[in-house]
Structures are given as structure tokens and as C-alpha cells.
């Protein structure tokens, strides 16, 4: 659906819901209004009862007076006197009026306000008896009451309840017809007759007669006639008048009018049954009836909520659209990257393959020329290694890109890791004659818990880059040291690799972590590389929540700094110490002196340091009682051999001298021993190495055989190799045979299990197990072997030998009960190392 349609749809839904709410509110309002209108009408009708009761009560008082007067045939004066005595309510008075001559005059119970001596009263100019008394004493009405009029005695607006009486003429003695009026001030009547204000605060009430003239007039009722009032402020004509009159004179009900202020009001009406022609009309502003019928707060909240929802949806829609757009662009980029990747891979794989194929052809055609064959095989080896690195990197970057790269933490020795790093780098360092400084400062914690393979990979990648891109004769330094970690039970591992290589441009540095990015430089092109190493390194560091920083300048070199917070392993640190040995350490490298002194102290050796040969000679001249001397081979003023010779002359034959060197000492070994050197220690000076060499020098441990040189320790071993691929079997069997190791093949996992079931104790010392095999794979086979009843068979070491090289594959192997993992293509050194490791464990 298009965005516009969605917005319109949202707005339509919003409006529809709002309209529904408003309609519902309006419906409820109308219902409430109808309910309140009905209640108001009912209240108006109820007022009729109140009115009738009141009027009847007053009329009865008047009637009782009349009855008494009539019964006693009183004179006018007597009647007035009687009534005056009977009146107890303040403000109420009575008049006795005679009809003769149309004068409507008589006597009052109260004197005129203007003349206290005058009790005479005349209604001649008060237009309520225009038609005589007949109107008041009609047969239909039970209450005979006048409209509100101005009492001629006190000018107070009043109503009068009337009775026909007969009084005796005091002079003639004849009975005369007269009217007895019980007169109530309107103000007094209104106090008793107020409309209930509890529910209807602004309601007002009036009494009108059939002509619309007010009998009692409420404040908001205007004019002297209700119909005129209606006419004055509403649309009016004779038809309206007729309809209005018919309604008012009909059944109780209500209608709307506009009052003198233009306010819409509801008028209720009901006839007063006790009188001939009175109607109660009540009036209340419509706003009062409409009050509280509508919960506008709720409507407001719903409206605001809907509006917010609409805005939220629109914002979300815009956001999602942008996301989709970004995702589409990303997908395009990924697609392009994939294309680029395949193109790059095609090129990068074909290049070493070209070398391998070509050189293989050359070798096969030149079998008689050993030099050509040797050179070809050497180059094929180089190309193979590059291809392997490329494949490994591709697999890693593939996992990185897919987010499947996970860490498999194990307990490992950072010292061993550093030693390994040093050892691996040595061939390249020596090949390029690089001034290599490898400094490992004091480690309080040797064993860490992290993904050793990945840590190694990070270290190796950065170091190999430094060596690769440093011209021969240049400098490369490595510094590894430990700091307290920010979290408990962690250390901060610092790894800094600095070189004086070709350096990088700023432009390249901005994209150096992107896959397949290599600097465009003729010198770079001379170096083999996949362009994936830095990418993988950065991703791994990110995965470990570490940081990597790079400082580089073209032509001057590059420094990479890596910081990793690594958890400590839950194992006891190596606590081996030498018993209070005093040593002299001689080296021109101040940093080495400092770090080596700390390392020596950690194994119980108290070292004096000398930064030159001359200073060393001075130190021993003082007969300081050194038990061992550690002497650098290459020092600027005096080389180590010369110093050793002079030291030996001074300290005698008893104190061993160990030569320290970062370089291959084989060429100088003979001269050194002649000068009095007892042994050699390779830089960097690791704790374990120092402990071992010093112990041996002091006679605490015997020097071990150089196992790199001979393979007698493993010769004669028998290994079961589970391998379905014939070529792979041929390779491994021949390699093993080269080192005197016998092997036997099982073509799949099932056969391997069968062989182990049939084998006797000692038939095999080890199993190399391929993983992906027909019939039964290596993992299942390992589990089956571990499940065998024979303890020897079930406990035999099993090393995975597979092309499944990822860390999770390794973890699966260990989970299946295997003891190690060797990735294909196999490195024979690793194979031999694993065999020796197993052999050592068997001895233990």
C-alpha cells in the first residue's frame, strides 16, 4: 500500500472513531437531555400539587371565614373585625367589598399606608373585577383567586382568595352580597412557592391565566403576558400563538423558547387543577439541563489519544519506510559486495592456484633437475600457505558477516600465547632481518579465560602485518602487558605492535577495516595479503568488547594498540620459585632490564642490573655473590661474548653465565661456550623460560633433549586413522611414517569403532578421527568409542583431524569426547606436537 493511502486510511479511521465517539456522546447527551427534560416536566407537574395544596389551604381559610360570617349574619364592620382578629399571619389582610354601583369598595382589616385612620378600600381602579365577581366564583374552580395586583391599601403586589359572603346592612338590616378577600403578598407566596433549587438552580416559576397574563411572575419571565414574552424574543405569528396556546392549555409538557437574554430555555407547563384557568409555567436554561450530560474530558482524552496514535502511526510509517529504504540500499550494497567478493575471491584464489598448478607442471617436467624441483616445491608451499590463509580468512569473514562468529573461551596461558607469537614470527623476522623487539612485561596473572584461538589470531594478524609491511632492516616491536581490569576478576590486556614500515594514508585508514581493502601502493602489491586480516581482527576485538587504535604515517610506520578486558581463569598461578637466588642481569635495553627484573623477582631471583658490559664487570668486582649471570649477546660498547670472557675470569667457573639473545645464536654458540657461557635464553624472557633455564644452570633440573631435532620419542607409536578420503589417508600415513609412526586406516567411523572393539590394549596409542565420513561420522564414532566397555579402548586419546575448522566445530569435537583438534590442511608440526602432547600425558 502506498504511503499516501496508508495516511489517508489512518486519518479516515481516526475521523471515523472520533465521529463515532461524538455521535455516541451526542446520543448520550440527547438521552440525558430527554431524561432531564422529563424530570423537569415531572417537577413542574409536582409543583402543581404543591400549588394546589397551598391554594386549597388558603382558600379553605377564606371559606371558613366566609362560613362564619354568613352563619352569624354579621355586618360589614363585624365581619371586618372578626377577620382582623382571625388573621395571624404577618402581611396578610382581608377586604370586604361591595359590588353595588361598580365601585368595588368596602373595608380593609388594615388602614391605608398613606392614611392610618382610613380603613376604606376601593378596587375601582384595580382591573381585577372588570366583569364583576362572576369570573372569580365560577363553578369549575375550587379555588377562587385573583391575579397578582397592587393592593390599594398598601400598594404591595398581592393575590387575593375570594369568597362570596352576605353581610347585614347595619342601617337597613338587609343582607347584602359582598366579596371577602383574603390577601396574601406575592412576596410571601413566592417564599412558600419557590421552585426546588437543589436540582434546578436557575429554574424559575410563574403562574399565568388562560390569556397568558401573569398571576405570579418569576424574575426571568418578562412582559405582563407570557405570550407577549414569547413574542418579544422568539419568532412569532398567529399560528405560533395558536399552537403555543393549545399546547399550554393542553396536557403537561414542555417546549423551548429564547428568553430576554437570548438564552435557550426549556419551559415546562401544567394546568392547576384546583383553579379555573391557571397554568404553572416553569423555565430553566437549556445549558443547565445539558450540564454533565457529556464527559468532554473523556472525549478530549480519546481525541487526543487518537491523534497521538495517528501521529505515532504516521511517524512509525515514515520511520519504517526510511528503514526499508535503507535496508533496500543495504541489500543493494550487499549484493554489490557479494559480486565484488566473488570477483575478488576468484582473483585471489586463482592467483596462488596459478602458482601451484604452474609450478607443479614445471616440477613434473623437470624431475631430473633437483634445483628446479626444490625451488618449485618451495614456491608451491608458499602459495599453498597463502591459499590456506586466504581460505581461513574467507571462512572467518563469512562468519563475521553472517553474525555467526562466536567465542569459545578456554583457559590458556598468556605467556605461552606470547611465546607462540614470538616463535611464529621468528622465521619472518629472520628472513627480513628485522630489528625485532618483543617485550612482555610482568604478568601477575598468567592464565586467562578467553577464546585463545581468537586472541592468537588478533596478535598474529597485527604482528604479521607489521612484519610484512616493514622493509628489510626495519624495526618491529611488540609490547604486551597487563593492567588491572575494570571489572572484578578481569585483567586489561594491552598489545601494541609498532613498526617502521610503509605506513598508511589517512584515506586508507578510514576504510582499512572494510573487507578486501588494501592500500593502493606498489610496495603493498609486492606483499601477499587477502585484505581480510584487519577486518577479522576488528570484528574479533569488537566481539570481545575490546578496542583497537591505529596511528600511522606514510613512510614512517604504523602502531596498532589493542586493549582487551579478559576474565581471569579459575586456576592456581604457577607458584614455582627458586630458593633465594642472586643474579646479575646485563642488557643495554632499559625496558628489558626493568621488566626482566620484575619477572625474575616473581620466581625468587634477586637481580642486580647492569646496562653495559663495563658496568657488569664493576658489579662483579665487588664480590656481590651472584649465583648466576644473565648476559645480553649484543650490546653497543662490548658484545656479550667479550663480556662473558672477562666475567668468567673474575667470577670463576662456578657461577653459570646464560647468554640472552633475540637472534639465532647457532653461529656464535661455539665461541660463546669457549668464552665461558653455560647456556642460552631466547628473548623475550618469559617467566617459565627463566625458571627453567636458571634451574638447569644451577643444577636443579636437567636439560631436556632438543626434541625438535629428533623424533625418537614418538617413533614406533601406532595410530588409528579414521579417514574416508584416499588422498588424505595417503598424506597423513606418509607424513607419520616419515617420523617413524605407524598408522592403520579405518575408512569410516563405524569401522574405527569396530577396530577399537577388536583391538587389544596397546594396539593403538592414538586415533586421528576425520569428522565427515560415510556410514558413521567422526563425532558419533568418538561417542561410540567412549562408550565401549574396555576401559583402555574407551579411554584412548582421539584427535579430530578435519576440515571443519571453526571454533564451534572444535567445541563439538570436545563435546563428543575427543581430546584435541587438528584442522586440515594439516600442519605436520601441529600433528607432531599433538602426538607428543598425548605421549606426555600417557607418561604422566
Amino acid at each position: 500500500m502506498k504511503k499516501g493511502m496508508m495516511i489517508i486510511g489512518n486519518i479516515v479511521i481516526f475521523i471515523a472513531i472520533l465521529a463515532f465517539v461524538l455521535l455516541d456522546v451526542e446520543s448520550e447527551r440527547q438521552r440525558m437531555l430527554a431524561s432531564k427534560t422529563e424530570a423537569f416536566e415531572n417537577m413542574t407537574v409536582a409543583m402543581e400539587s404543591v400549588t394546589t395544596n397551598y391554594l386549597l389551604g388558603e382558600q379553605q381559610v377564606c371559606n371558613s371565614w366566609a362560613n362564619y360570617i354568613n352563619a352569624n349574619q354579621m355586618t360589614e364592620e363585624e365581619a371586618i373585625a372578626y377577620v382582623r382578629d382571625s388573621v395571624s399571619t404577618p402581611g396578610v389582610m382581608a377586604h370586604v367589598l361591595f359590588l353595588e354601583n361598580g365601585e368595588f369598595s368596602g373595608l380593609s382589616t388594615m388602614a391605608s399606608a398613606a392614611n392610618p385612620d382610613n380603613y376604606a378600600v376601593s378596587y375601582k381602579n384595580v382591573a381585577i373585577f372588570n366583569n364583576g365577581f362572576d369570573d372569580l366564583f365560577s363553578e369549575n374552580g375550587t379555588v377562587n383567586v385573583t391575579r397578582a395586583y397592587t393592593n390599594p391599601v398598601n400598594a404591595i403586589q398581592s393575590i387575593a382568595f375570594c369568597c362570596l359572603i352576605h353581610v347585614r346592612d347595619s342601617q337597613s338590616g338587609q343582607m347584602r352580597e359582598a366579596a371577602l378577600l383574603r390577601i396574601i403578598p406575592v412576596s410571601a407566596f413566592e417564599k412558600r412557592w419557590a421552585f426546588p433549587t437543589k436540582d434546578y438552580q436557575n429554574a424559575e416559576i410563574s403562574l399565568i391565566d388562560v390569556t397568558g397574563d401573569y398571576v405570579i411572575k418569576g424574575h426571568s419571565f418578562k412582559n405582563s403576558n407570557f405570550y407577549e414574552f414569547y413574542q418579544s424574543y422568539n419568532d412569532y405569528n398567529q399560528t405560533v400563538r395558536d399552537e403555543l396556546e393549545a399546547q399550554i392549555l393542553g396536557a403537561p409538557g414542555s417546549f423551548e423558547i429564547r428568553n430576554s437574554s437570548g438564552v435557550r430555555c426549556l419551559v415546562g407547563h401544567t394546568r392547576v387543577n384546583s383553579t379555573d384557568d391557571w397554568i404553572i409555567v416553569t423555565m430553566i436554561p437549556m445549558t443547565e439541563l445539558k450540564q454533565s450530560a457529556t464527559n468532554w474530558t473523556l472525549v478530549g482524552i480519546i481525541s487526543a489519544g487518537l491523534l497521538l496514535l495517528l501521529l505515532f502511526n504516521l511517524a512509525n510509517l515514515v520511520y519504517l519506510n526510511r528503514q526499508l529504504l535503507a535496508t533496500a540500499k543495504e541489500a543493494d550494497r550487499a549484493n554489490q559486495a557479494k559480486t565484488d567478493f566473488l570477483s575478488t575471491m576468484s582473483h585471489d584464489i586463482r592467483t596462488p592456484m596459478n602458482a601451484i598448478v604452474g609450478l607443479t607442471t614445471i616440477a613434473s617436467k623437470s624431475m631430473d633437475d633437483k634445483t628446479v624441483v626444490r625451488d618449485s616445491l618451495h614456491k608451491i608451499n608458499l602459495a599453498s600457505n597463502h591459499l590456506l590463509t586466504l581460505i581461513n580468512d574467507i571462512l572467518d569473514i563469512s562468519k563475521v558477516e553472517s553474525g555467526k562468529l562466536t567465542l569459545s573461551p578456554v583457559t590458556f596461558s598468556i605467556v605461552e600465547c606470547a611465546e607462540n607469537l614470538f616463535n611464529i614470527s621468528q622465521p619472518m623476522v629472520k628472513e627480513k632481518n628485522i630489528d625485532f623487539n618483543f617485550r612482555v612485561k610482568h604478568f601477575d596473572h598468567e592464565y586467562l579465560y578467553s577464546d585463545q584461538l581468537r586472541v592468537n589470531q588478533i596478535f598474529i594478524n597485527l604482528l604479521s602485518n607489521a612484519i610484512k609491511y616493514t622493509e628489510p632492516g626495519g624495526k618491529v616491536s611488540v609490547d604486551i602487558w597487563e593492567e588491572p581490569g575494570e571489572k572484578e576478576k578481569t585483567v586489561r590486556l594491552n598489545y601494541v605492535v609498532a613498526d617502521t614500515g610503509i605506513g598508511m594514508t589517512k584515506e586508507y585508514m578510514e576504510r582499512m577495516y572494510q573487507p578486501f581493502s588494501r592500500q593502493t601502493d606498489s610496495r603493498v602489491n609486492l606483499v601477499q595479503g587477502t585484505g581480510l586480516g584487519l577486518t577479522i581482527t576488528k570484528k574479533m576485538i569488537d566481539l570481545m568488547h575490546g578496542t583497537i587504535d591505529c596511528q600511522s604515517e606514510v613512510g614512517k610506520g604504523t602502531t596498532f594498540s589493542v586493549v582487551l578486558d579478559v576474565p581471569l581463569a579459575d586456576v592456581k598461578e604457577d607458584a614455582r620459585k627458586l630458593p633465594n637466588v642472586k643474579a646479575l642481569l646485563v642488557d643495554d635495553d632499559e625496558i628489558l632490564l626493568e621488566t626482566a627484573k620484575d619477572t625474575l623477582a616473581s620466581i625468587g631471583v634477586q637481580a642486580d642490573v647492569a646496562s653495559s658490559g663495563a658496568q657488569a664487570l664493576e658489579k662483579v668486582a665487588g664480590n656481590a655473590g651472584y649465583q648466576v649471570v644473565l648476559l645480553d649477546l649484543q650490546m653497543p660498547d662490548m658484545n656479550g661474548i667479550d663480556v662473558a670472557r672477562e666475567l668468567r675470569a673474575k667470577i670463576g667457573e662456578e657461577v653459570p653465565i646464560l647468554m640472552i639473545s633475540a637472534y639465532d645464536w647457532s653461529e656464535l654458540e661455539e665461541a660463546a661456550k669457549e668464552a665461558g657461557v653455560n647456556g642460552f635464553i631466547s628473548k623475550p624472557l618469559f617467566r617459565s623460560t627463566l625458571y627453567k633455564k636458571i634451574s638447569e644452570a644451577l643444577g636443579n633440573e636437567s636439560d631436556g633433549t632438543d626434541r625438535e631435532d629428533t623424533y625418537a620419542d614418538i617413533a614406533g607409536m601406532r595410530i588409528l586413522v579414521a579417514e574416508d578420503n584416499d588422498v588424505n589417508w595417503e598424506i597423513i600415513s606418509m607424513l607419520l611414517q616419515m617420523y617413524g609412526v605407524d598408522s592403520e586406516r579405518a575408512e569410516n567411523g563405524q569401522l574405527a569403532v569396530e577396530r577399537m572393539k577388536q583391538a587389544k590394549k596397546g594396539d593403538y596409542q592414538l586415533i586421528f578421527m576425520d569428522i565427515q565420513m560415510p556410514v558413521m561420522n567422526g563425532l558419533e564414532a568418538a561417542k561410540a568409542i567412549r562408550a565401549l566397555d574396555d576401559p583402555w579402548a574407551s579411554g584412548i586419546p582421539i584427535i579430530a583431524m578435519t576440515a571443519d575448522a571453526f571454533s564451534e566445530n572444535v567445541a563439538e569435537c570436545f563435546a563428543a569426547g575427543m581430546n584435541g583438534h587438528i584442522a586440515k590442511p594439516i600442519d605436520v608440526k601441529l600433528v607432531l606436537k599433538e602426538i607428543r602432547k598425548i605421549k606426555g600425558e600417557m607418561k604422566a
Binding site: 381602579n125 395586583y149 418578562k222 403576558n225 418579544s232 430576554s260
Partner: protein, 434 residues
């Protein structure tokens, strides 16, 4: 509105009458304007009380509209108009009663009558500067001042006398509305011939008959004749001669048979009955006062015949001379404040609100009366009065004629109009007419 052409005519009328009735006193008008501004309440606007205005109008919508405006400033003040039966006979009593009104009607004729002394005794001096009432908006000759120079009562309406003309009849008969006495008689003759038995009608109970014809004429005759006025006020023998000319005018008109007395006697009052009769549509000319005209608009819808057959009508001076008629301007109604009012402050505040050009003109228009203000804005029904020459304007309050000789003039006119007396008899009986 079916009757009058309003618009620019009303505007011209207002402007011309402003000049005429203020006696060309430009200063007064300017002073009035300068003194007036938006009403600013002086009291606590939350004041609560009830104010009653008592009068003899059955209803007083124009005043009630002012109540509504005033209570916009004082929402807690309840204003009420009360009709008093037999107002003239009861007002004195009412002013001394427990429910005495706060504001009450007064009329010029009350001023010099002893029985109404109380009316003026209890009246607040509205000229008291402390009250802040802008009396300068009232035309000078309309303000009544007592011997002490106090202003106990302020006019709110003035009126005049003339004839309501059914213009539709005149159009139908091809006649022009008469501007002179000859035209009047000619028109009446024509109407008689056309079958109108009584071309002119008038309320005949009391002393009203032909009053709009002869009374403005009489006033114009003696205006400025101090000797005549003095002798009439002194009721000297022979003073009736000053009325002769007037009475002969009445006798001449009646003698021509333009008025059917029987029809006129059937009119029960000079307000409702006169209006409703006129709306029956067969009366070409109805003599009436401005008070009567004030009730016409509302009663248009009350008259079935008028509703069925509406017609155009207007109010004109009765052309009593060959030069035309007169505009006799007289106070119709004044308000006084009861100084014994329990809520005197609020009552005076209401008067301060009401006595302004804006409010009095608004009230005059609402009731179709003539405003007492210098700056008038008359309803269009009075347009014909705006066409009169300035010399034909008579201010009754400036005339100086006392009540009794004035009453004698009315009685004489009524007697002659009803053929009860000849002109000679009436002149001779002047001063003793009942």
C-alpha cells in the same frame, strides 16, 4: 417590517431634529458627547441585591433589555419591572410601603400637584455630581428642576401627537398624504366619496378626540405670547378667547363629517384598542399619540387582519394649517429614584448606566418612542416629523402654560369635537369646564 421607509430618511430626521429640538445649542450636544464614554462600574461588580422599577406600563421590554445589559456588569443584581395597578392613584402609597420601588415613573403633570408631593420628596437629586449621572445628554428644556435646583426626575421618553396613516389606502385611492389643512379636507372628502365613512378616527373617551389636530395648533398659537399665557394661567375672564381659534379649527373639521363619533366611541382605550382597530386596515387616518405608536410594531402579529393583509403605515403631523402641522414635543415618561431605597448605591449606579445617549436612544428605538437625548436616532415611523420646518417645532415644557388652563383647553376641545358645545359656549365656559 411592512410599513416605513427607513434608512437615510431616519438619519436625516435624527440630524435635523437634533438641531431643532436642542434649540441650535451646539454646545450642549458637544458637552454631552464629551461627557460620555464606555460605562465603567463604580461599585463591586459582585454586589448582590434586587432593584425594582415600578410603573404603569403593562410591560416594558425596552427597559428589561437595559436590565440585561446592566446585569452584564453586575451579574448578581436582580432587576425587576413591576406593573402597579392604578399607578397614578397608588404610587404615593407604594413609595411608603414595605415594598417601595427603587425606581418609579413620574410625569410632568405630577410636579405641581400637592397629592404627588411625596413623589418628589422621596426622589433622589439626580443632579448630585457625586452620582456621576450625565444629565447633559438630555435636552435642556426637558429637565425639570425644583425650587432648590435639584433634578428629582429624568425623562426617558418624549412623545408627540399626530396621525397614523394607512399608506396602502392612499396608494389604492391615488391620494397623497396631506401636508396642509386644505389637503387634509380634500383627502377626507375623497375618502368619503370612496366609501370610507370615517376617514379619520380617534379615541374619544377622555379628552383625546382631535387632540393631535388642535392642541399642537393651540400651543403654536400662544407660544411666546406671554400675556396670553399669563392670563390663561391666571384664569382671567375672557382668557377663553385665546382658545377660540383652536376651537373653531376643531369645529370646522368635525363639521365636515370626517369623523364617525360612534365608531370612535367604540374604541375602549387609546392604546391596544386604537392600534388593533387601525390594523383592521379600513381606517385611512387614526389620530394618536407617540405612546400609541410605540405599541404598533409588536401588535402587527397580534392582529389577524393585519397579518392576513399587511399594509404600509406611518406617523405624520396633523396638518392643521395651510403651512402644515406642528411637532409638539412633550415628555412622555420620566424616572425618579427612591432615595429611601435599601440599595440606593446600586439604583443610582443603574441610573448612571441608563442616562446616556446610547442607552436612552436604544430604549427609545426599542419602544418606538422619541428619545429625550440631544443626539436622537428616531425610528423611521417618525420620518414625516423630520421634514417639518424648525419653526413648527413646539417644546411643551417651554410653553409655560399651567396644568389647569391646559386641562381647560383639552376639555373645551373635546366638548366642541363631540358637538356638546359650540365654540362660543366653550370659550365662555373656559375656566369652568368639567
Amino acid at each position: 417590517m411592512k410599513m416605513l421607509k427607513r434608512g437615510w430618511k431616519a438619519l436625516l430626521l435624527g440630524l435635523s431634529l437634533t438641531v431643532l429640538l436642542t434649540g441650535c445649542d451646539g454646545k450642549g450636544g458637544k458637552a454631552s458627547k464629551d461627557a460620555e464614554g464606555p460605562f465603567v462600574p463604580r461599585l463591586d461588580t459582585q454586589t448582590e441585591c434586587e432593584i425594582t422599577v415600578a410603573g404603569h406600563y403593562n410591560n416594558f421590554e425596552a427597559l428589561e433589555a437595559e436590565f440585561n445589559l446592566f446585569t452584564e456588569y453586575y451579574p448578581n443584581v436582580k432587576m425587576k419591572y413591576v406593573f402597579l395597578d392604578n399607578y397614578n392613584g397608588i404610587i404615593v402609597t407604594a413609595l411608603t410601603s414595605d415594598e417601595a420601588p427603587d425606581v418609579f415613573f413620574t410625569y410632568p403633570w405630577m410636579a405641581n400637584q400637592k397629592e404627588y408631593a411625596t413623589v418628589f420628596d422621596v426622589a433622589e437629586d439626580l443632579s448630585d455630581p457625586a452620582l456621576g449621572i450625565n444629565l447633559s445628554c438630555i435636552r435642556d428644556n426637558l429637565l425639570y428642576k425644583d425650587d432648590a435646583g435639584h433634578v428629582p426626575t429624568v425623562p426617558v421618553y418624549t412623545t408627540t401627537y399626530g396621525m397614523m396613516v394607512n399608506e396602502s389606502i392612499f396608494e389604492k385611492e391615488g391620494l397623497a398624504i396631506p401636508k396642509t389643512y386644505d389637503e387634509l379636507t380634500s383627502v377626507c372628502d375623497a375618502l368619503k366619496k370612496a366609501g370610507y365613512s370615517s376617514p379619520v378616527m380617534a379615541y374619544n373617551r377622555g379628552s383625546f378626540m382631535l387632540f393631535p389636530l388642535y392642541y399642537p395648533y393651540f400651543c403654536a398659537q400662544i407660544q411666546g405670547n406671554e400675556k396670553a399665557i399669563q392670563e390663561m394661567n391666571d384664569m382671567k375672564a375672557g382668557a377663553g378667547e385665546y382658545v377660540r381659534d383652536t376651537l373653531e379649527k376643531a369645529a370646522d373639521f368635525m363639521g365636515r363629517g370626517y369623523v364617525d363619533l360612534e365608531s370612535c366611541n367604540a374604541l375602549e382605550n387609546d392604546y391596544q384598542a386604537v392600534i388593533m382597530r387601525f390594523f383592521e386596515g379600513d381606517v385611512p387616518m387614526m389620530f394618536a399619540s407617540g405612546n400609541t405608536v410605540s405599541g404598533t410594531e409588536k401588535r402587527e402579529s397580534q392582529s389577524e387582519k393585519f397579518s392576513a393583509n399587511p399594509f404600509k403605515y406611518s406617523f405624520h403631523p396633523v396638518p392643521s394649517t395651510e403651512k402644515g402641522g406642528y411637532f409638539l414635543n412633550a415628555i412622555s415618561l420620566s424616572f425618579a429614584v427612591n432615595k429611601n431605597s435599601a440599595n440606593l448605591d446600586v439604583t443610582n449606579e443603574f441610573m448612571r448606566f441608563l442616562i446616556t445617549t446610547q442607552e436612552l436612544n436604544r430604549m427609545a428605538q426599542a419602544k418606538r418612542m422619541v428619545t429625550p437625548c440631544r443626539d436622537m436616532s428616531l425610528d423611521g415611523v417618525y420620518a414625516a416629523f423630520g421634514e417639518l420646518d424648525a419653526k413648527r417645532i413646539v417644546n411643551l415644557s417651554e410653553l409655560g402654560l399651567a396644568d389647569e388652563p391646559d386641562s381647560q383647553v383639552r376639555r373645551a376641545g373635546w366638548q366642541v369635537s363631540n358637538f356638546n358645545m359650540t365654540v362660543d359656549e366653550a370659550v365662555k365656559a373656559f375656566g369652568s369646564l368639567e
